[in-house]
Amino acid sequence: MSASSLLAVDSLWELFSRAISLRDYNTRVVLAGTTMLGISGGLVGTFLVLRKRALAADVVSHAALPGIAVAFLLAERLAPGSGRSTGVLLLGAFVSGLLGMAMTLAIRRWTRIKEDAALAIVLGLFFGLGMALFTVVQRTKTGNAAGLSHFIFGKTASLVAADVWLIGGISVVVALLCCGVFKEFSLLCFDEEFAAARGYRTTFLDGLLTLLAVTVTLIGLQSVGLLLVVALLLIPPTAARFWSNDLKVMSGLAAVIGGASCAVGVVLSASFPRLAAGPVIVLTGSGLFVVSLVFGKERGLWPRWRSQRQFEQRIGRSDLLRACYELLEPILGPDQTTQDSLTKSEIDEFELSAMRQWPSGRFHGLVSMAVGEGLLSSTSTDGYRLTWRGAEEARDAVRRHRLWEIYLLTQTDLDPRLVDRGADGIEHVLDPQQLAELERQLATQLPQGIPPSPHPIAGAVN
């Protein structure tokens, strides 16, 4: 390894440790300000997503471009050298962003064009105009060096402390406002009409939400860039939704995810000067999104799959035990199916599998699960025997099934041949309370213990 590459590694490490340890004043300020931006983006984004206005933010960010260019050109004309001022550029972005928003609203209101088309039209128009104006800016003497391209791709490293104070300050105000009208925003997003009937001015609330979203979008332009800033608003709340069904938890989590993505983006971009912060922020957010999508407690794919599987296993298990019981019932005699006698009888594997139409893989899976859980034990002659606990559960399962069947037969006009199938679905979700209620209702018609099956049992007949 040559000396120069060692040097490069060395200086990279140097940069990284500087960024991590926050030795640099500028990095510290940028980190704090941008993290705050991510937090407020997560909060506002939560309501924006719930209000189904997510794409509007994308339009605003793109519509800001011509405003930035015009503001630069105007400022340079009026007072040469003032075109790079963040305040001036943001003002331009704000005006044209709002103009774009207003235009989509107007198109939707007064024409028959649908919202998605209206958004696309305005986005294309303003972005095209902005790109055209940018070529004009590039030709001016100062334009090339003005760093306007940072607005498109984002670069936190280009931010100076004063800009960041502005961004961070506005972010704090936005976040506080959002928390202040939390109730009202949630009502607006859930049931706009009810809010209006209760006397809330929904256009005002809607306007406030839009204003907050526009504000976050615009102050995020320099750090994330207009192409990606919308992700700052959308990814955190969408990721947070997988973890919680509670709006407060969801919005808090969205704020954390937004803040964390921004912090990681800033640190990495400060460590590797060629790495733009915007993409890193968005990629970090996307990574958290994928993790949430898979593992999210409430709606993630994995927890859902697992609970679905557990439910199926529970059903399969009680079906298997019931089959064991019903196989032994005619052999032992209807009144002799005590727990004790059930455990003493051997069950033939083939006969058991014939009790229900199990696919063979499923049957063997269930049997080995039951053996594993100590409900069945294998005998020396390749058969099975119910354990004490297995027999107990089998009796419970049969009782549940038959009570429900008898209930269906006596209380509804279901065809007796269909009752078995109807009972199959419901019996697994009956809780002890409902079971007691069933027994109470059927008390006069029932013998003690496990009632006989109201219909012939399929597998056992042969």
Binding site: K183, D191, E193, F194, R198, G199, Y200, D246
Partner: protein, 279 residues
Amino acid sequence: MSTPLVVDHEAMLEPVPQPVVRQTAPAKSPLLIEDVTVAYHHRPVLWNIDYQAPCGKLIAIIGPNGSGKTTLIKAILDLVPRAAGQVLIFGEPYGQQRHRVGYVPQRTSVDWDFPVSALDVVAMGMYRKIGWLRPVSRKYRDAAKQALDRVGMVDFASRQISQLSGGQQQRVFLARALVQNADLYFMDEPFAGVDAATERAIVDILRQLRESGKTVIVVHHDLQTVHEYFDEVVLLNMRLIATGPTADVFTPDNLRKTYGGKLALLDQLGEKMAQPRSR
């Protein structure tokens, strides 16, 4: 409270003519609709509606699809603009009487996959009272729980609303209106697509409300149950067909007028007025 004293005092100084107190019946009526007309995109959907609701009754608004039942309620609650006419709630415009009016919108009008619990939804009925910038305190949460208890849903208070059945969702909506403790209620199809248990629970609530002197106006679809549930009916098909006590007004003849094809002329007129726009 102090006003009578002042009047007395002045009366002692100089006798003035007795002020004319207009204690007319309409001012007391929970709902007075005068000549209301509503148009969507220049196409009238309600024509010249006049109605005065009696106090303490269960009133059904009945009419075929597209007859303007929901629109009438929305026009009363200032949710859609009126082209003409006025509405008085207990003698005053709705804007001044909101606190006395409870509203149960159609269940299908919202997205139930929203990240809130049943209790949160009920608490929304009190947001106005709680005020801006304040969180929902213990006191209000307890009130919301009580309202849920009234509709038999207290066990589901912390359940996320998408995990409730349609009937349960409807009862949560009802609880959100009950928690306001209003004097006049509007309910838009509360019986649509609910289970038998919910239907019974809602009917019980309606009767309780009537016993405590409240007036309830319900958009209703099921003609079978009108006689059993309601004291008064409003038969509506873009214009008012008939109003009054159920026994007098809910007659085959009136129903034929409401649902039958006798209003073809009105339909044609409506279509004609809509035509220039659709081109």
